[in-house]
Structure formats: structure tokens, C-alpha cells
């Protein structure tokens, strides 16, 4: 082999797809010029989906793709003008791809006014600083939603759902995953889980409605002494533990049509707090000083 052929061979090896992919998943990116309130949809199989709001009227999407046998499908973008809708979907070109080999990590910067529709069965979804509505579904993946003001609907079969500082209505459900609400200012929160735990930490809005239910997971409510709510707590077999000063309407620790129940008013009773469990404990206690 002469010297030219050797160089050619080296170049071929260097630029072969196998070598390129062996150096780590390649990164692709797109920029879509949008209105200030576009609808963004991401459909993934496994991997992370991270979405953050920014002030620009555009979507900047970065994809880390684990295999050359995966594509990210996107809608055709018109040559001019702003798009109202951006749809991104993981497209497996090989039906045998599974697990880490089917992984795509999405990182998106989107207008703060965006509304989101995210499906990521086996991966983490993290959403931050969004003012539009958010709809997220996972099977085993964790969902983190931080500083949002639109409606939130989050469902996971087995993943943790953590919602921090939401100010819009929230509906969260899981079968085995835990649900956590930290410093919410939402007027309406509905949460249900079968065997996961529910943690609510923060104050309650006047006239707010907070309905939480678990089967055998514990429900912990940690609120400041200034929190004002009417409490309706029921459990078939679980303990009801209250460390706040309640004006009790009734308390039947063992005999009632439900099992255990605790009804009372804290401060002026501005919000409604409805808690139910079958065998999980329900605790209402003052938020520890930070």
C-alpha cells in the first residue's frame, strides 16, 4: 500500500459512522421562529426532555441522539413567517432498538408563553418557567415542573411528580409514584396516587381548593401557621395526625361511616383542604422554619 492509499484508509476510518458514533452521541439542533404563544409537542421514547422558557419568540431545540438508527421528526417549517406549532417526535428506524440505544435527549428553549404537550414514557421530563398550559405523561419517568403559571396536567404510572412554585391549577396523578408540591400559589390542586406518598409544602390561596388522595401512601401537609383553611380529612384505616390549632367541628377517631375523620378550621378557613387515604397516614403540621 503506498502512502496515498494509507492516508485514504486512515481518513475513511476516521470519518466512518461507527467512529463518529463511538465518540458519543452526536448533537443536532434546530431553531424555529414562532409566535410568543406557540404550541410545542415532544414525543420521545427514552431519554430526558428539558424545556425552559425564554423571552425570545423562537424555539431552539438541541437533540442528543444515541444511535444513527434514530431520527427526530419535525413538522415542515414554512420558509417565511412564524410558526404556531412545533411538533418533535422520536422516530426509531430500527424496531430492535430498546433502552439506552433508543435514547434521545431533548433540550429546548421556548417562548415563556408556550403551551406544552410532552410524552416521554421512560425518561425524565423537566419543565421550567412556562406561562402557557403544560400537559406531561410518562410511564416510569420523573416529572419536574418549576415556576409555571398555566394549567398543569401531569400523569405518571410509576414516576415521581414534583411541582415547585406553580401558580396555575394543577392536576397530578400516579399509581406508584410520589407526588410533591413545594411552595405553590395555585388556587386549585388535585393529586392522587395509589401507593406513592403526597407531600404538600407551603401556604394555601384564599378560596383555593386542594384535594389529595392516596391509597396506602402517606399524605404530609406542611404549612405556615398563617395558613387559613377548612380541613376535611378521612381515612379508612390510616392515622390522622394534626399538629395545628384547629377549631374542630367533629373528630371520630374510630367509629364513623368512613373510619377515621377529622373536620376542622384553621384560622379563618379561607381555603378548602380535602384529604383522603385508605391506610396511609395523614399528617398536618407546621412548616419548619428554614
Amino acid at each position: 500500500m503506498n502512502i496515498e492509499h494509507r492516508w485514504l484508509a486512515v481518513l475513511l476510518i476516521l470519518f466512518s459512522p461507527a467512529v463518529v458514533w463511538a465518540g458519543g452521541p452526536p448533537q443536532q439542533s434546530d431553531t424555529f421562529y414562532t409566535s410568543r404563544t406557540p404550541h410545542i409537542s415532544v414525543t420521545n421514547m427514552t431519554g430526558t426532555v428539558v424545556i425552559q422558557g425564554w423571552e425570545k419568540p423562537q424555539v431552539h431545540a438541541v437533540y442528543m441522539i444515541a444511535s444513527p438508527r434514530i431520527e427526530v421528526d419535525k413538522d415542515k417549517v414554512p420558509p417565511r413567517g412564524q410558526v404556531e406549532k412545533v411538533e418533535l417526535a422520536t422516530h426509531l428506524l430500527d424496531s430492535q432498538l430498546q433502552g439506552q440505544n433508543a435514547r434521545v435527549n431533548y433540550t429546548l428553549d421556548v417562548p415563556v408563553g408556550s403551551s406544552l404537550e410532552i410524552r416521554n414514557p421512560q425518561g425524565i421530563v423537566r419543565i421550567e418557567r412556562i406561562e402557557g398550559d403544560t400537559w406531561v405523561e410518562t410511564v416510569g419517568g420523573e416529572i419536574d415542573i418549576v415556576d409555571t403559571s398555566g394549567d398543569i396536567v401531569a400523569h405518571s404510572v410509576g414516576g415521581l411528580i414534583q411541582i415547585i412554585r406553580p401558580s396555575g391549577p394543577v392536576e397530578a396523578s400516579s399509581v406508584t409514584g410520589n407526588l410533591s408540591f413545594v411552595s405553590p400559589s395555585s388556587g386549585r390542586i388535585r393529586a392522587s396516587t395509589t401507593s406513592g406518598k403526597i407531600l404538600y409544602r407551603g401556604n394555601m390561596a384564599a378560596s383555593g381548593e386542594y384535594v389529595m388522595s392516596s391509597y396506602n401512601g402517606d399524605i404530609d401537609i406542611l404549612c405556615p401557621p398563617s395558613a387559613s383553611f377548612d380541613l376535611n380529612a378521612r381515612s379508612v384505616r390510616g392515622k390522622l395526625i394534626n399538629d395545628l390549632q384547629l377549631t374542630q367541628r367533629s373528630h371520630h377517631p374510630s367509629v364513623s361511616s368512613y373510619g377515621n375523620s377529622l373536620f376542622g378550621t384553621h384560622n379563618r378557613g379561607a381555603a378548602t383542604l380535602e384529604l383522603t387515604s385508605f391506610s396511609g397516614s395523614i399528617r398536618i403540621e407546621p412548616e419548619p422554619h428554614q
Partner: protein, 229 residues
């Protein structure tokens, strides 16, 4: 217009027709196409059963599910199905042909929703007046509800059979998540049933039991639909 175009238009206008909009083309086509006539008759039957059960209208989810069955079976062909949008790869290869199982599952879900609604509404009706009612009366109500419960339970069992028939083809981590959740719901159902036998007047247990059945049906449906993707 040939028969294929007619079927396509029938499919496009069917949802709107079932929602009460005036779509004469649907009826016109059903008169001339035996296949679409059967589809329409089935859907109208579902609607009439739901009306007899005291439900104003099945939820959009039910109609969406029924429609998904028809799509899965290839009876109707929308331009782009929900699952095609979900995962564009047509042959994900998880199982050979999951459509019949999913179709059965989706129809079963519709049945569970329809059968369960009166049960749940009975529960809500019996919710407040339970205090002061003799246990014998409550037990009688519970027995009356049990027939409905039994039907719904059979439907869930069919769903479960379809799930286990397809379980081996699921991705391991997904399978584990579904299995864990299913076990959790089964525990809930078992415990609530035992509790109901001991305390038939406990309305909170009734609520948990009916909710657990619904959740189980939804979970099984979700797992089966996942195999279609």
C-alpha cells in the same frame, strides 16, 4: 364518488355525527355500505346502552377509544392515526400483531366505563344517606351493585388476560413499571373487597374500590396501547 371515498368521508364525519351534528352523508353512506352500516350500528348501540345506564353521553375518551379500535383493526383509515403521530415507526416489533388485543382491550374499557358509571353513581347516591340506614339495607344495595361489579370485573379480567399475553414483548423497564403498578392496584382491590365484606356501609372504601377498578382498567389499556406504538 367510489365506495372507498364514501368510506373515507364516512370516517371523517362519523365523530361529528355521533356528537349530534347534522351529517346526512354519514347516514346516506351507511345505507349503501354494509360495513359502515355495521360500524354505525355498533356505535349507536354503545350510545344507547350508555343512555339506558343513566349517562347523558359517554365521555370523549370512550368515543376516542372505540375509534382507536376501528383504526387498529383497519376498519377505518384516518389520514394519520394517533399512534402514528405518537411513534411514526410502523413496525416497532414489540409484538407480532397487537391490534386484536388492543382492540379487545379498548372495547373492554368502553364496557368498563359504561358498566361502572351506574355503579359509581349508585355509590354517590348512597353516599350521604348511609348514616341511620340499617346495615341490612346497605348490604342489599351492595348485593344489587355486585351484579354490575361482576360484569365489570369480567371485563377487567379479559383486559388482564390480553395484557399477560403481550407482557413478554414489552420493554423490560416498562414491563417492570406496569407490573409494580398492577400489583399495587391488585392489593388495593383485594384489601377493599375484604373491607367491604366486613363493613359494607363504609362509603370511603366503596369509593376506593370503584376507583381502583377504573384505574386498573386504564392501566391495562395504557400498557396494551403502548404495545401498538
Amino acid at each position: 364518488m367510489n365506495q372507498g371515498d364514501g368510506c373515507l368521508r364516512f370516517d371523517e364525519e362519523l365523530t361529528a355525527y355521533l356528537e349530534g351534528e347534522d351529517r346526512p352523508a354519514v347516514l346516506r353512506h351507511a345505507e349503501s355500505c354494509e360495513f359502515c352500516r355495521c360500524v354505525l350500528a355498533d356505535l349507536e348501540m354503545v350510545r344507547s346502552v350508555s343512555a339506558e345506564s343513566g349517562i347523558d353521553e359517554p365521555s370523549p375518551v370512550v368515543w376516542a377509544n372505540v375509534r382507536a379500535v376501528l383504526v387498529a383493526e383497519g376498519i377505518i383509515h384516518p389520514p394519520l392515526s394517533f399512534w402514528q403521530r405518537w411513534f411514526p415507526l410502523k413496525s416497532r416489533g414489540l409484538i407480532g400483531s397487537p391490534a386484536p388485543f388492543a382492540a379487545a382491550a379498548v372495547l373492554a374499557i368502553a364496557a368498563v366505563v359504561l358498566l361502572w358509571a351506574p355503579f359509581v353513581s349508585n355509590l354517590s347516591r348512597t353516599h350521604s344517606p348511609t348514616v341511620g340506614i340499617r346495615p341490612a339495607v346497605l348490604a342489599e344495595r351492595y348485593t344489587a351493585n355486585a351484579a354490575t361489579t361482576n360484569q365489570a370485573w369480567q371485563t377487567i379480567q379479559q383486559l388482564e388476560q390480553a395484557y399477560y399475553a403481550n407482557e413478554s414483548s414489552m420493554e423490560p423497564s416498562l414491563k417492570a413499571t406496569y407490573a409494580k403498578s398492577l400489583a399495587s392496584l391488585n392489593d388495593e382491590i383485594r384489601e377493599c373487597q375484604t373491607s367491604m365484606q366486613q363493613q359494607p356501609q363504609n362509603t370511603l372504601t366503596q369509593e376506593y374500590l370503584s376507583s381502583a377498578y377504573m384505574q386498573k382498567a386504564q392501566l391495562l389499556q395504557s400498557a396494551l396501547e403502548y404495545n401498538l406504538r
